[in-house]
């Protein structure tokens, strides 16, 4: 039995919205980065599902690039966290309001 494509898209949409809510509600910088990873993974599920159903591997190659960009983003984000923690001794984004209007 073939799983309908819409099931994969619904799972991906659910995962994306969970990541979005995580970015909006959490105060810990690290957990916000985790939520971004969740959103990137949701995009990957979509890409791979459509590539599998359309019998073309373009989507899989694109998801490979997405994974690479996630790796770069993790390195930069963690460097920013380390610098912030060294200066302010906090990872709470509510206390980092220097650039706020």
């Amino acid at each position: 039995m073939m799983i309908p494509l819409s099931y994969y898209v619904v799972v991906s949409a659910l995962m994306f919205v969970i990541g979005l809510v995580g970015v909006l509600v959490r105060r810990n910088f690290l957990i916000i980065l985790y939520s971004i990873e969740l959103m990137l993974n949701a995009a990957n599920i979509n890409l791979v599902a459509f590539s599998s159903r359309l019998q073309s591997h373009d989507g899989q190659i694109l998801s490979l690039f997405v994974i690479t960009i996630a790796a770069a983003e993790a390195a930069i984000g963690l460097a920013i966290i380390v610098v912030l923690f060294r200066r302010r001794a906090t990872t709470n984004v509510d206390e980092l309001n220097l650039l706020k209007w």
């Binding site: 909006l24 985790y34 994974i67 963690l78």
Partner: protein, 175 residues
């Protein structure tokens, strides 16, 4: 039958682990939940016959990125806070639900779920007919022929990431 059983297992645990990732108080527990979510996403990839992406997902995400996160998590000695969420979390939950409903609405009103969309004979399939579809070799061939420019650009991006992380995290000498 077995396939749908596996699909519902992987999908359910993925969504549950995602909720736990953003809901747990202890960041270490969040990391373990994120690991579980990533591994089950790899299971979904295997169900979609994307074995190479599943292996990359496990090696790079679960193996490299998550270990990097854990290292930094252990490095920072975070103090416990009594509240883990912002003040405006009601608003965020509400708008999250609205956006989810909007995605579902757009999904089920569009025509890509119709069978004629999915059974369309794509020209890509004919172009790669000489190579066995969907194994590591065919992805590799496409990566080094059609996508060579993008591949190089991503390599430069990774180099920029390395340099940026080094410049940011470099210990400045105390004055």
């Amino acid at each position: 039958m077995t396939q749908s059983l596996f699909f519902f297992y992987f999908a359910g645990v993925t969504v549950l682990s995602s909720i736990l990732t953003i809901g747990l108080r202890n960041p270490i527990h969040s990391t373990v939940a994120l690991l579980s979510a990533l591994l089950h996403v790899a299971g979904i990839f295997i169900l979609l016959h994307a074995e190479f992406i599943a292996a990359i997902q496990i090696i790079i995400y679960a193996g490299a990125i998550l270990v990097l996160y854990l290292f930094v998590l252990m490095l920072l000695n975070q103090k416990e806070t009594e509240t883990i969420v912002n003040r405006q979390y009601h608003l965020a939950l509400f708008f999250g639900a609205v956006i989810f409903c909007e995605i579902l609405l757009a999904l089920f009103q569009s025509d890509f779920l119709q069978s004629n969309f999915l059974n369309v004979e794509t020209p890509v399939l004919k172009a790669t007919a000489g190579i066995a579809y969907n194994n590591t070799a065919s992805i590799g061939v496409a990566l080094f022929t059609d996508y060579i420019l993008q591949f190089e650009i991503v390599g430069v991006l990774l180099l920029g990431g390395i340099v940026g992380a080094l410049v940011l995290a470099k210990q400045t000498p105390t004055r």
